[in-house]
């Protein structure tokens, strides 16, 4: 029998900095063919729609909802049916905001040490692969990849038994396409 996803299977938790009426967030529609799940790192394409991953100067946007969330409602397709509400927009926390976040959408096969920079791949997941500087104690970041966060508490198992990665949001544009 197929396993049900729970509401915390894919999640973005704000450990610090949100919610707040003054928090920097941004809502946008996903681009055609793009499936966003909560916790993914996205960016805007040239039409202002969400795509997965961050390269160059694209602003990181961390998705709070996913396409199937009931307040996004992009998942239901039934003959003769149309959803008046909701709008399909996904709300995201902007990468230049002051947050410590915890996401389920990262490369769980790697280890993460505090202060390691993170990038967002084209699958929308965070990883420290290919962004680690020569020495993360006092060397500058030498990779050409865009940096979207800095590891804080690192990888851990949250209260729901799901592996998550805690990091501070931080944006350093990169020069490479991927």
């Amino acid at each position: 029998m197929a396993q049900f996803d729970q509401m915390y299977t894919h999640a973005l938790d704000a450990l610090k900095g949100w919610p707040s009426p003054h928090a920097l967030d941004f809502a946008a529609l996903p681009a055609s063919g793009v499936t966003v799940v909560p916790g993914m790192c996205c960016a805007l394409d040239s039409t202002g729609k969400l795509i997965l991953g961050v390269v160059r100067c694209r602003m990181p946007l961390f998705a709070i909802q996913g396409a199937g969330s009931f307040d996004v409602g992009a998942g239901a397709t039934i003959a003769g049916y149309g959803a008046i509400n909701p709008s399909g927009k996904i709300n995201c926390l902007v990468g230049t905001g002051s947050y410590e976040l915890s996401t389920t959408e990262f490369d769980t096969t790697l280890t993460y040490a505090p202060n390691e920079p993170l990038r967002a791949g084209t699958d929308g997941k965070l990883t420290n692969a290919s962004v680690t500087p020569v020495s993360f104690t006092d060397s500058p970041q030498t990779s050409s990849k865009a940096v979207v966060g800095i590891v804080s508490r690192g990888k851990y198992t949250n209260a729901y038994g799901v592996t998550a990665l805690a990091f501070w949001t931080y944006f350093l544009p990169g020069s490479s396409a991927e």
């Binding site: 199937g68 969330s69 307040d71 239901a76 003959a79 003769g80 149309g82 959803a83 008046i84 709008s87």
Partner: protein, 309 residues
């Protein structure tokens, strides 16, 4: 005789004093809804076509993987036609199943207005009316935008077949909005398998002038004279409700939307009606309006559109 400007300024000071109560969120449903229904420039289109039903927590359905509100609606089951059989024959079996669809909810919010309270002291107009009017009007406009976007999506496109019904329900008719074309437009909904009649038509305040052009022969009797002398003041025509809107960006010129009775279209739920949140911290005031609603078109056969070119 009392000076009206003095009275208005006094009223503004009273309102300002109430707004300055620290840390209070005001549930403004009664005041806003009564006032707005009387004084809004235009009521919402969706609320006139599909009047909202109030829904509470007890009416909501629960899901395994999402704790956000939603509601599952059953459609009327269809069934194959009856057949005639010779003796010693039994009917075929059909397992009872039914079509359902979800109604999801979302929050609609106005912008958040902020101001230093000192900058409000110089206003002589009724700021409460302006506050509630603008915020509620903006939310209703967003409701209408979502509703008509959904209608257009369900109809697929001009002169395209709607897969659910197998019929074209967004029709282009040349020759303008004549009486003949009005009746041609009324054929759109009955042409589908559902055989629905138009219960409400929606057109904008420019398109309605085409009806006012109908001469005595076209309109029939003194209606033509009345249309000229009194303008279009009718709420019904041809046994059909007429909704005239000023939102020409949503209802284009020469387009007429046709809607069946709301029970044949879908659902429009109001989970939390319009509320004004007002907060003051020291000398900074901010306020915004919000509501929570959910709607869906469950039966594509209940909507239609005619573009009279």
């Amino acid at each position: 005789m009392a000076n009206p400007m003095t009275e208005t300024r006094l009223m503004n000071e009273t309102v300002l004093a109430r707004l300055e109560s620290p840390g209070m969120q005001k549930q403004a449903v009664d005041g806003i809804s009564d006032f707005t229904r009387l004084r809004m420039r235009e009521d919402g289109i969706q609320r006139r076509v599909m009047p909202p039903l109030e829904i509470g927590n007890d009416d909501l359905d629960r899901a395994v993987n999402d704790d956000r509100p939603y509601k599952v609606i059953d459609m009327e089951p269809d069934s194959p036609a009856a057949v005639s059989l010779p003796y010693n024959s039994l009917p075929s079996n059909i397992t009872i199943n039914n079509r359902r669809y979800p109604v999801f909810f979302e929050r609609v919010v106005s912008v958040r207005f902020t101001k230093d309270v000192n900058a409000l002291r110089s206003y002589t107009m009724d700021i409460r009316q302006v506050l509630s009017d603008n915020a509620i009007k903006d939310m209703l406009a967003q409701e209408d935008n979502a509703f008509l976007s959904c209608v257009n999506t369900v109809l697929v496109g001009a002169d395209q077949v709607v897969p659910f019904t197998g019929a074209t329900q967004w029709v282009t008719l040349s020759g303008g909005l004549s009486r003949v074309n009005w009746m041609e437009g009324k054929k759109v909904l009955p042409r589908t398998f559902a055989h629905l009649e138009t219960h409400t038509v929606l057109l904008n305040n420019v398109t309605v002038k085409e009806i006012q052009k109908w001469d005595r022969l076209e309109a029939g009797g003194d209606l033509s004279q009345d249309l000229l002398l009194k303008g279009f003041t009718y709420t019904e025509l041809d046994n059909t409700r007429i909704v005239v809107t000023i939102k020409r960006d949503l209802v284009p010129d020469d387009s007429v939307f046709h809607f069946a009775d709301p029970k044949f279209i879908g659902k429009n739920f109001m989970l939390e009606d319009a509320t004004m949140a007002i907060k003051r911290e020291a000398f900074m005031l901010d306020y915004y309006a919000y509501e929570t609603l959910g709607g869906a078109i469950g039966n594509a056969a209940g909507v239609g559109r005619v573009d009279h070119t």
